[in-house]
């Protein structure tokens, strides 16, 4: 285990050498030297801005971190991010090359003044850090692959003169480590770039750390999505749950079924072409982010009916169709022919191993009104239990998707309504009422779960609501150790009823950062005051 050493306080502490600060042990008032002399003011109260960023304004907080007050200087004209000796990745690793340039720009800006400098080192007398060497240790670094649930995101960072070393199993860990390193580099009052000698050992607590974006209630232009992927990378999120279509609009331009978006999108300008989709997937990949698309059925499909005749169930009033439609019609063979072909496309367009199939909030009224559906229920022996019809549909979809070798994520209703699920199904728990109990049920039945219920960020309210998101402890549910292992992570959801490109970024960030730390950092990192200090700096850095 890690040694714990009490931290010397005040000035005396600063004069000593290294401090050992296992984040596991943290009583965070110790981490910043002497404890505050007076009660720390409520953030809402006035406090004079205290100057540049604290050296250790890391977000999310690494699992294990030790820093020394000894600082190293970086000269932007000379400093380089390079592949280290023995790395299984080299200059042909496009993903890392791209990351090197990106992180250089984050740290030093894009100023043209950073020409290659050979002049005498000016300013301070600190030793110079000339390089960060990145060493990938696994034989297959993953440069050309897509991240997946089991990818390694662990990294070890040693910052000491003359070169810093970032070691990771795979490129994904290197991306996480580069983000952390960039957060360590800071400027002093004179504009010199400095970094404290440090050693960091880090890995995520949960493997699935996602953001849900809804591009159906309001179309989100590509730029908006890409900006969001950048913000996700700053916070070590690794899944974009793309809730791409829904009742209101169908912006996904399908290759096999172009009418879906022709008739179902808000306009021809409000679509995602195959090129757009590839762009998002690649932009995400370069940041170690998986893209899991959600094509939610059988409910939430009004927009599908515009471009695909006879897909949705016609609703009846007595003997006659009313002209309106309900969920997908589960009794027709044509439905499943369509779905087979549709999912063939989706499975090849989206490289992730998982597809989200939805399955939430299916309203049975329309099915109940339709005489053919009622007849089908009778024939199948479902009685009047429409949950059985829903499960019948879902199971057929699950089979279709499995035949394309994809895994699937479903909303909790699919589990609650007792559909037959494959053992590797992931169930997403979203209903706010007693979600802990639902987590127990889902994991108790042996299924993997992801938690979204307490993190519906579209539910805005006045004040510092990030605190309530931060204070959620995902494993606070009754269950065995084995069960708890089945909770693989969670997602912050930004449903789009009241969100479009004009307000997405300020609404989602930095509130989602609170969720990001909860899912990455250790369980004991819970001090709100410390989080507040780091988060305020992190937010300014993200801007």
């Amino acid at each position: 285990g890690r040694r714990a050493m009490g931290r010397a306080m005040g000035l005396a502490g600063l004069l000593l050498g290294l401090f050992l600060v296992p984040a596991v042990l943290v009583s965070t008032s110790f981490r910043h030297g002497a404890p505050p002399a007076e009660p720390v003011p409520e953030p809402a109260e006035w406090e004079r801005a205290s100057g540049p960023f604290r050296e250790d304004s890391l977000w999310p907080l690494p699992q294990w971190l030790r820093t020394s007050p000894r600082q190293l200087q970086l000269a932007p004209g000379r400093f380089q991010l390079v592949h280290g000796a023995g790395s299984s990745a080299g200059p042909d690793c496009g993903l890392l090359q791209d990351a090197f340039r990106r992180y250089y720009e984050y740290m030093f800006g894009q100023s043209p003044r950073w020409t290659r400098g050979r002049g005498p080192p000016g300013g301070r007398g600190e030793p110079e850090l000339s390089q960060l060497q990145v060493v990938i240790e696994a034989p297959d670094p993953g440069c050309y692959s897509y991240p997946h649930l089991a990818s390694s995101e662990a990294y070890h960072l040693t910052v000491t003169e003359p070169v810093a070393i970032l070691k990771a199993d795979e490129v994904w860990g290197a991306l996480r480590g580069l983000e952390t390193f960039s957060q360590l580099v800071h400027e002093d009052d004179y504009g010199s770039f400095l970094v404290n000698e440090s050693e960091i050992d880090d890995f995520p607590r949960f493997a699935h750390r996602g953001i849900l974006l809804d591009t159906s209630r309001h179309y989100l232009p590509l730029k908006s999505i890409l900006t969001n992927l950048d913000a996700m990378a700053f916070n070590k999120f690794n899944v974009l749950h793309w809730h791409i279509v829904d009742d209101q609009s169908f912006p996904y331009q399908s290759i096999y079924f172009p009418e879906l978006s022709d008739k179902g999108a808000y306009s021809y300008n409000h679509v995602y072409t195959p090129t757009d989709v590839s762009l998002v997937i690649e932009y995400a990949r370069l940041r170690g982010i998986r893209v899991i698309p959600e094509f939610d059925t059988p409910g939430h499909t009004q927009s599908w009916g515009k471009g695909q005749r006879d897909l949705l169930t016609p609703c009846y009033s007595g003997e006659h169709p009313t002209g309106s439609f309900g969920p997908i019609n589960p009794i027709l063979n044509t439905t499943y022919d369509f779905m087979t072909k549709f999912y063939k496309e989706i499975s090849s367009v989206f490289p992730d191993a998982y597809i989200h199939l939805g399955g939430d909030e299916v309203n049975f009224d329309c099915w109940k009104s339709n005489p053919e559906v009622r007849e089908f229920m009778r024939k199948q022996g479902f009685g009047i239990d429409y949950a059985k019809l829903e499960s019948y549909y879902i199971e057929k979809i699950l089979d279709i998707v499995s035949s394309y070798n994809k895994g699937y994520v479903v909303w909790q209703e699919v589990f609650d309504n007792k559909a037959q699920l494959k053992p590797d199904t992931v169930v997403q728990v979203w209903m706010g009422n007693n979600y802990a109990h639902e987590l127990s049920s889902v994991t108790g039945a042996g299924f993997t779960a992801i938690l979204a219920a307490p993190w519906y960020l579209d539910y805005i309210s006045y004040g510092q609501d990030w605190k309530k998101y931060y204070s959620v402890e995902p494993l606070n549910f009754p269950g065995s150790e084995k069960q708890k292992k089945l909770l693989i992570g969670g997602e912050a959801c930004l449903w789009g009823e009241f969100v479009d490109a004009t307000n997405l970024t300020p609404r989602l960030w930095p509130r989602a950062s609170a969720v990001g730390e909860r899912l990455w950092s250790s369980r004991n990192v819970t001090n709100l005051q410390d989080a507040y200090e780091r988060l305020t700096n992190h937010r300014c850095r993200m801007l």
Binding site: F498, P506, R507
Partner: protein
């Protein structure tokens, strides 16, 4: 013929007719904003008593112009007679809790014009920061701004805002809130704020403006002399809200003063003592004033033409407060139900829309004293990154 556009004769000119001269003046509470718009075949006429009405009419005209699916611009035959129900329709921005760069203020003024707002209530300084660059007291922003080089409003910035607003028929009413909400004034004006005491010794912290020193009133006179010349509107907002008495009570010199004046333990009397002297100073500078409701609630003696700004929802429900204020003969502004910084999920615009400022028991003369209201966007959680989508 088939290719003839469905629209009538093309319109080429909107004629704007303004009855009263006055292009170079500033809008005021009494400005006339009424206009008539007449759109018919071959004639587009906008007529108004004053230029301010012409601005309102132009906005309306621009909203009437449509574009069909071929891209053709058109306008329907229309007759409009329009005037505002309330003459004071304001928006409050808070540039102390977070600095707002000039462009954010100017953008807000544009959107205000789209919505026919006509008062920009600039809550320019407060506890957290003092961004107003004063030429009489330059130390105030040097010591009190978040960053005295970057997070300040220079004299030129202020003039830019005032003129940009004027061109849109918007009055700029500056608020220098005292005696509370003044922590940021302290560093640049030593001796201005009340030193708080812990027992017999000063604690090192400060409270509201010190009402017992002559130097205070000298300072206030000089500062407001400057503010009166910088801001051309007749009205200044003097604040007067949320004065915390704890610090005053802790200070032995203040306690002695209270005794001397026969105020007993009623610190509201001390607050009113300060406010009354402040109001006299402002009057002598030839300005009128708006104050937050506490000034009225705490019984200060104010001029009959004082405007009372109602913002609290308790202990007195705001409609009751509106009745009380107007009954006492003062004009009233309503903000209480319109604190837009208090966000919540869903279509909260409806709650704001449903408010009827005149829904209180009172005689017609009272109702006439309600001159309007203001939507407030306090800055605790607002800066340039989220101001516009939060406000509009």
């Amino acid at each position: 013929a088939e290719n003839e556009p469905p629209w009538g004769t093309p319109c080429t000119q909107l004629l704007v007719f303004v009855a009263m001269p006055g292009c170079d003046g500033f809008p005021s509470l009494d400005s006339k904003e009424n206009y008539k718009l007449s759109v018919s075949e071959g004639s587009l006429l906008l007529s108004a008593d004053a230029i301010w009405g012409a601005l309102r009419g132009l906005e309306t005209f621009s909203q009437l112009v449509g574009r069909d699916e071929n891209g053709t611009y058109y306008i329907n035959k229309t007759e409009i007679v329009d005037f505002p129900r309330f003459p004071h329709r304001g928006l409050l921005l808070d540039t102390s809790r977070h600095y707002l760069p000039l462009r954010a203020i100017l953008e807000t003024l544009d959107v205000m014009a789209y919505n026919k707002f006509n008062v920009f209530h600039w809550h320019i300084v407060d506890d957290p920061s003092f961004p107003y660059e004063s030429f009489t007291f330059p130390e105030l922003s040097k010591q009190g701004a978040f960053n005295p080089m970057t997070h300040v409003y220079t004299a030129s910035d202020v003039q830019t805002v005032i003129e940009y607003a004027r061109l849109r028929g918007i009055r700029v009413i500056a608020e220098f809130d005292t005696p509370g909400h003044t922590l940021s004034w302290g560093p640049g004006a030593p001796g201005l704020l009340t030193p708080c005491y812990l027992g017999k010794e000063p604690s090192g912290t400060y409270g509201p403006i010190n009402p017992i020193l002559n130097s205070t009133y000298k300072f206030v006179t000089n500062l407001f002399q400057e503010v009166s010349t910088v801001f051309p509107d007749f009205f200044l907002h003097l604040g007067g809200d949320e004065v915390d008495f704890t610090c005053w009570k802790s200070n032995p010199k203040i306690r002695a003063f209270m005794k001397e004046m026969g105020f007993g333990e009623d610190y509201k009397k001390l607050e009113s003592f300060y406010i009354q002297r402040l109001l006299d100073i402002i009057s002598s500078l030839g300005k009128g004033y708006i104050v937050w409701q506490e000034v009225f609630d705490n019984g200060a003696e104010v001029r009959p033409d004082t405007i009372v700004h109602v913002w609290k929802e308790n202990p007195t429900p705001y409609m009751e407060e509106m009745a009380n204020v107007t009954k006492a003969g003062y004009r009233a502004l309503l903000s209480a139900p319109w604190y837009l910084n208090r966000i919540s999920y869903g279509q909260d615009w409806m709650a704001a829309y449903k408010v009827d400022p005149l829904k209180f028991k009172g005689v017609p003369e009272q109702k006439d004293r309600v001159i309007g209201g203001e939507a407030c966007m306090w800055g605790e959680y607002v800066d340039v990154t989220n101001l516009t989508p939060r406000l509009w």
